[in-house]
Symmetry: C2
Subunit: 230 residues, 2 copies
């Protein structure tokens, strides 16, 4: 019997790397989707290519989609990325409707390819800030996918997997280590230095480093300066 296919969203970050590897460990063949949305940290797409290559995915599509046409986020417009620690509420790095857009694209590819499983690396940490990382959003998207598609209408619904949903960053690092991943291939920083290093100051660098520390796993990341606590 052939293994089933899954579409995995691979940003180049640590979370989607571990989510994709989990899908593979669960027996899926992978179609990897990355979006070149003109993000400030486009260097993450090089990491996405490394991740797709190391996992040996069946196909990797890097889809250009210039969300900077809309703006509204520190990741796509001329708004500074915060450097003074993780704050309260929804951060300015929130990109309006990003995960809705990305899951919609993954859904389109999945239906075209005959896949019924989608994987996304959202998790408990992001949850605290981004609305479209919450379990109720993921469940809502699964409901919509059933209404939106030929497959759904014909009684063959999609499953939206978020295997890291209840994990902290330390849990994710532990899971990556357990799966034997070279986590140094991934990229987290929102505001890379001109030398191509992680800045060490943005929320994403702080959370990444704390995850490795708490997991007791050596952090392979090269930071421009040692990350402080989030």
């Amino acid at each position: 019997m052939t293994s089933p296919i899954a579409v995995v969203l691979v940003s180049g970050g640590l979370d989607s790397f571990v989510a994709a590897a989990s899908a593979q460990a669960a027996g899926y063949r992978l179609l990897a989707l990355s979006i070149d949305y003109n993000q400030r940290h486009r260097v993450e797409l090089a990491a996405a290519r490394r991740v797709a290559a190391t996992l040996g995915v069946e196909r990797h599509v890097v889809l250009p989609l210039d969300l900077s046409a809309f703006g509204g986020s520190a990741l796509t417009a001329d708004i500074d990325v915060p450097k003074d620690g993780v704050g309260e509420g929804i951060p300015v790095t929130y990109v309006p409707a990003r995960n809705t857009i990305f899951l919609s694209l993954a859904l389109g590819w999945a239906e075209a390819a005959g896949a019924r499983d989608l994987f996304i690396g959202v998790n408990a940490l992001d949850y605290s800030g981004y609305p479209d990382c919450r379990p109720e959003f993921i469940a809502g998207f699964a409901t919509l996918a059933e209404l939106a598609t030929k497959a759904g209408v014909e009684g063959s619904p999609f499953r939206i997997h978020a295997p890291l949903q209840d994990m902290t960053k330390a849990d994710i690092v532990r899971e990556g280590a357990r799966l034997g991943l070279d986590m140094g291939l991934s990229w987290s920083c929102y505001d890379p230095t001109s030398d191509g290093e992680h800045c060490g100051l943005c929320d994403s660098c702080r959370l990444r480093h704390k995850g490795f520390e708490e997991a007791g796993v050596p952090d392979p990341t090269v930071y421009a300066r040692p990350p402080a606590a989030p």
Copy 2:
């Protein structure tokens, strides 16, 4: 008081032209969004530009998004467009998750621009074939938008307007005439001739022509051959 802003999906077709004009007639200023998804009938984007210009929208974004990377539709892959009349079931011109993708993008722009209203030209005729034109899909998307966004979480939900939802094509033509639209600016054909004419044979040509006939409004469209009944 300034008029509210709405994001309208403008394909270049007749339906979205009338939907956008309805939004304008209802007092909204318009942000028009068209998607260049590498559709077989990319000529509709020229129509979208004409429509946006004649309506005098505040801004028109034509966003490149190459859905042919996924395939799975006669509109984006090397599959023939049916020419022998409207059949049963979901047609091969269905593009997997297209309206989910397009509404997600409209949602992203709306949130970034501070708009809370989205307009889409889905209607009763499409409904019979495409799952993502049904009222339950539109309602499902509104529910998801509330879960997915900063605005939704903060208690300022989005309204997804489908003003043509219960209209036949003849109703839409009548509404276009009532609003004084030059409906010849719009484009419907899925499989344009090399001379840039409507083919007259695809479902979309047949339904368009029947709409004008039933409405008793002269059809301004140049067809390569006179459309038969759907």
